[in-house]
Structure formats: structure tokens, C-alpha cells
């Protein structure tokens, strides 16, 4: 069994896969290879950014996992194109039935964003949307929740 944080990241990928028109099946996790213009369209990569934990009792930890949902686009205006994907992805992550996947998530919030682009053919750009997931785990077992 994987850790709760790993299962959340995988669930986020599942939530977006084939659900964001224009990105379609080009949803990746922790991809480090460069995105190429010949891959058939724009892409989303989900990177685990950080996780903080604090004890709320001897047996239970209160955690917040931050995932970077990185939207890679090419086009003019690239910010407008990336925004359309961000708008489509947001409700898929906020309204997802995580419990159906066995995950008890107390809160999903968009907490930060940044935009970056380079000059080049069709202006390659990246919008990073950070989502924070709050959840409890057992102190002795990071694969289990109370």
C-alpha cells in the first residue's frame, strides 16, 4: 500500500486524465523529461511540492500536502490558453469524490500560482497552480487514516 500522499497525487492525475479538453491524455506525474512540441498538444504535469505535518495527538498527524499542477502550453496568447485549462482543471480537483478512492480529504484549496514563459516558436509557457490537500494520517502508519 502506498502512502496517503502518493495516493492523493495519483488521484489528482486520475481526476485530470482525459477530462481537460486540449490536454486529453497528456497528464503526467513527476515528469522530468522536457515537453516537446511534437507530442500532439498541451500537457499537464503533477509534481509533489511539499508536505507539512503536525501532531494533533499521540496517534494522529494533521498533514497538508502541496501539489504543483503545471500546465504547459504553446500559443499566442499563451496565458489565455493556460487559463482555459486552469478553469477546466479546478472543479475537477475541488469537487472530486476522493472518498470514493478511499481518501479522507478535509480540504482542497488552491493556494498559489505563478506564470512563466520564454520567447520562442508559439511562445512556450507554463502556469503552475499549487493545490493544498489537508488530511489526517496515523502517526505509526503513513498508509492509513483515522
Amino acid at each position: 500500500m502506498n502512502s496517503i500522499e502518493e495516493r492523493i497525487a495519483e488521484e489528482v492525475k486520475t481526476a485530470l486524465l482525459d477530462q481537460v479538453l486540449g490536454v486529453d491524455s497528456r497528464v503526467f506525474r513527476a515528469r522530468k523529461d522536457a515537453f516537446s512540441p511534437d507530442e500532439g498538444g498541451d500537457s499537464i504535469n503533477i509534481d509533489t511540492a511539499e508536505m507539512t505535518s503536525r501532531a494533533i495527538s499521540e496517534a494522529v498527524d494533521d498533514n497538508e500536502l502541496t501539489l504543483d499542477v503545471c500546465i504547459y502550453v504553446r500559443g499566442d496568447v499563451w496565458e489565455t490558453k493556460a487559463d482555459a485549462y486552469a478553469v477546466l482543471a479546478h472543479p475537477l480537483l475541488r469537487q472530486r469524490d476522493y472518498l470514493a478512492a478511499g481518501l479522507k480529504i478535509a480540504r482542497v484549496r488552491r493556494v498559489e500560482q505563478d506564470w512563466a514563459a520564454d520567447e520562442g516558436d508559439a511562445t512556450p509557457g507554463k502556469r503552475t497552480v499549487k493545490y493544498a490537500f489537508r488530511f489526517l494520517t496515523l502517526a505509526d502508519d503513513i498508509t492509513a487514516q483515522p
Partner: protein, 104 residues
């Protein structure tokens, strides 16, 4: 020293140049020129993505008036000028950065 136009003629004789056709958006006669067309792939976004850097270099006496958003046709593809053109060498050569639009 070889003047830029002679330099380009020499390049053309050995097959290094490609024909670029341009019909000015504001009207006027169509123009064409033999250009040095380059398309190297480069890393962008801190290495997270690849991008092809399409550029043309040509004698300043050719394609006069070319500017951003004008469209060149090179080897059956349309390219829009996305930056420049800017001069290089002693001002006798120009370079324009392009973005590929699709088949002509």
C-alpha cells in the same frame, strides 16, 4: 572582403539557401529572397520544454519592409515573423525570428 550579397550568392550556389516568399499584408508586390533558414531545437522554461527556434537571415536589400506578423512561405510552410527583423554584421544582413503556422 566579400560583401553580404556576394556572400549570399556563394551560399546559394552550394545549396545552403532556401526560397522565402512574402506577400506584404498591407498590399504591394510579392517579394522573395534566398535566405539562410535555421531551425535548431533549444531548451526553454528552464529545460522543462523543447522549442524550435526558427530564424531567417537575408541580405538587407531583400524583403524590405518585413516586420512582425508578416508571413513568409518557406518550403511549403507558413511562418509568421515574431520578432525583428534586426540587423547584423555591418547592417547589410537582417535576421528575423519566426513562428511556424502550418502548411501553406
Amino acid at each position: 572582403m566579400l560583401a553580404t550579397d556576394k556572400f549570399y550568392e556563394s551560399f546559394d550556389r552550394v545549396g545552403f539557401l532556401k526560397e522565402a516568399a512574402w506577400k506584404p499584408a498591407a498590399g504591394g508586390p510579392a517579394q522573395s529572397a534566398k535566405v539562410r533558414f535555421r531551425a535548431p531545437t533549444e531548451n526553454v522554461l528552464g529545460g522543462e520544454a523543447l522549442s524550435t527556434d526558427y530564424t531567417v537571415r537575408y541580405p538587407a536589400a531583400k524583403l524590405v519592409g518585413l516586420k512582425r506578423d508578416e508571413v513568409l512561405t518557406i518550403e511549403g510552410f507558413k511562418y509568421a515573423v515574431r520578432e525583428g527583423p534586426k540587423s547584423s554584421l555591418d547592417g547589410s544582413e537582417m535576421e528575423a525570428k519566426l513562428t511556424r503556422q502550418g502548411p501553406a
